[in-house]
């Protein structure tokens, strides 16, 4: 059987992809898997396992006004509510909820016992994504700073705090500036 270069390349790609997927799930430690995983090119097939997410995660934020008053904590994106009944057909919030879940789980998994934990976490993608997002929300005039809070809890139980950011000043264009924070007071 004579194979063209194109056919050999195609066969190689498919066999390699499957082999690497299998190797990943068998726990193989290969450098190429790390490179491919950085772009999530190796499919992860262990859905809701081995540790299924059985706790609710909530993202809240509050603002501080120029007067010194602080707003109440507000839950973002209806994370305390179940999906509407028609979401099995039309679920436009699917991406948002999955992204928030991934980001909050990653943030919650950080080690906060180390001395430099807070400084280190503030430089991570999840923290900055959440800070940027919260800072970009429409808000009334007079707000000078904002902070966000991540909570988790099982159904029927009072949620507990997982992580609370520091207060970050907002500039006139509603974006946070990297200046020394106020006390967290969470």
């Amino acid at each position: 059987m004579h194979l063209t270069v194109l056919e050999i390349t195609a066969i190689t790609v498919l066999i390699a992809h499957f082999s690497l997927t299998l190797a990943y799930h068998l726990g193989a430690k290969l450098r190429i898997l790390d490179h491919l995983d950085a772009l999530s090119l190796v499919p992860k097939w262990h859905f809701f396992a081995p540790r299924p997410g059985m706790r609710n995660l909530y993202l809240l934020y509050r603002d501080r006004y120029a007067t010194g008053d602080v707003s109440v904590w507000r839950v973002l994106h209806g994370m305390d509510r179940f999906r509407p009944g028609w979401s099995f057909i039309w679920n436009p919030d699917k991406r948002l909820r999955k992204t928030l879940y991934d980001v909050l789980v990653t943030l919650a998994a950080e080690d906060y016992t180390a001395d430099d934990a807070t400084r280190r976490v503030k430089l991570t993608a999840p923290y900055l994504l959440l800070l940027n997002h919260v800072s970009s929300l429409p808000r009334p005039d007079g707000v000078v700073a904002t902070q966000f809070l991540v909570m988790e809890g099982e159904a029927g139980q009072t949620p507990r705090k997982v992580f609370c950011s520091e207060l970050h000043p907002l500039c006139s264009r509603r974006t946070a500036l990297p200046s020394p924070p106020s006390s967290p007071s969470c």
């Binding site: 056919e7 499957f18 499919p43 097939w45 809701f48 699917k94 999955k98």
Partner: protein, 284 residues
């Protein structure tokens, strides 16, 4: 009905038709919530470009920056819909039978999906991964002749990835105590992200049902390892069970994309079963 997918051509056409419906649905959903990808959204490129590969590669950053501007991103989502429409037209033979055209469109669609991988690993799900698997195999095999070795390996690859997905998922659940003791399904159904208010409450009141449900999922997923070798009736039962499972996750967990992405692999599984049983001496 199973013999309908005895050729690689009929199998891959069926795979693509089903998968494309799911891709259209997800794309329209992303267009509806394109604010997620805006500079102030949770997938803000303004932030993401400062991490990972884009942060260490100015060349990559310069290549991706124009693609992830909000307006361009929306246009690329619309481009996905245009590409899918052209693929459907080609598959339905409204356009001249252009195998190379279909191959090119499939690879373009794969590239458009992989842009999300380049942006961030956050927000990706199993349906996205399976769609990229399907498009990769379809794009490559459509570059070769019908019934070629590449076509057989391509369709077999889709079927193999699907079987691997079910088995890996089943084994991973078997290794976890919350799945073995029945807490997992009731727990997941009680969450607002993937749960269902009524079903979550009902399962917490009926833990034995949750236990049964957990073991049905574990056993069925692990049993998918025999699907490539199963005889006709057993194969139909397993695939029907898979379809019901994905319908259930769509209804109760909102995973509508999974329904199309995974059921799309079933014609490939049937083809692989047909091919293997024609070769292996101990099968019928």
């Amino acid at each position: 009905m199973l013999s309908s997918y005895s050729s690689t051509e009929s199998a891959i056409v069926a795979v693509l038709l089903i998968a494309l419906v799911g891709i259209v649905l997800t794309t329209v959903e992303d267009l509806r919530r394109s604010d997620v990808f805006s500079p102030g959204g949770v997938l803000s490129w303004t932030v993401l470009r400062t991490f990972g590969r884009p942060a260490s590669s100015p060349v990559l950053r310069r290549a991706l920056d124009p693609l992830f501007r909000p307006l361009t991103h929306r246009r690329l989502l619309w481009l996905r819909l245009v590409v899918v429409a052209l693929m459907l037209a080609t598959l339905a033979r409204w356009l001249p039978g252009a195998r190379w055209l279909l191959a090119g469109l499939t690879l373009v669609l794969l590239w458009l999906l992989l842009l999300h991988n380049a942006r961030s690993i956050f927000g990706l799900d199993g349906a996205h991964h399976m769609n990229t698997v399907i498009l990769l195999a379809a794009g490559l095999l459509l570059c070769t002749s019908p019934g070629s070795l590449v076509a057989k390996i391509g369709v077999g690859f889709i079927g193999a990835q699907a079987v691997l997905a079910y088995v890996v998922s089943g084994v991973a659940k078997l290794m976890d105590s919350s799945w073995r003791n029945g807490e997992a399904i009731a727990g997941i159904m009680s969450t607002t992200t993937y749960g269902h208010a009524w079903l979550g409450r009902w399962l917490r009141r009926h833990p034995k049902v949750s236990l049964l449900g957990c073991w049905v999922v574990i056993v069925t997923e692990c049993a998918f390892v025999v699907v490539p070798f199963a005889d006709g009736p057993l194969l139909m039962v397993m695939l029907a069970g898979g379809l019901l499972f994905h319908l259930g996750t769509a209804v109760f967990m909102g995973l509508n994309g999974f329904l199309f992405a995974f059921v799309a692999t079933y014609p490939a599984i049937v083809w692989a079963n047909y091919a293997l049983r024609g070769v292996l001496p101990w099968t019928g």
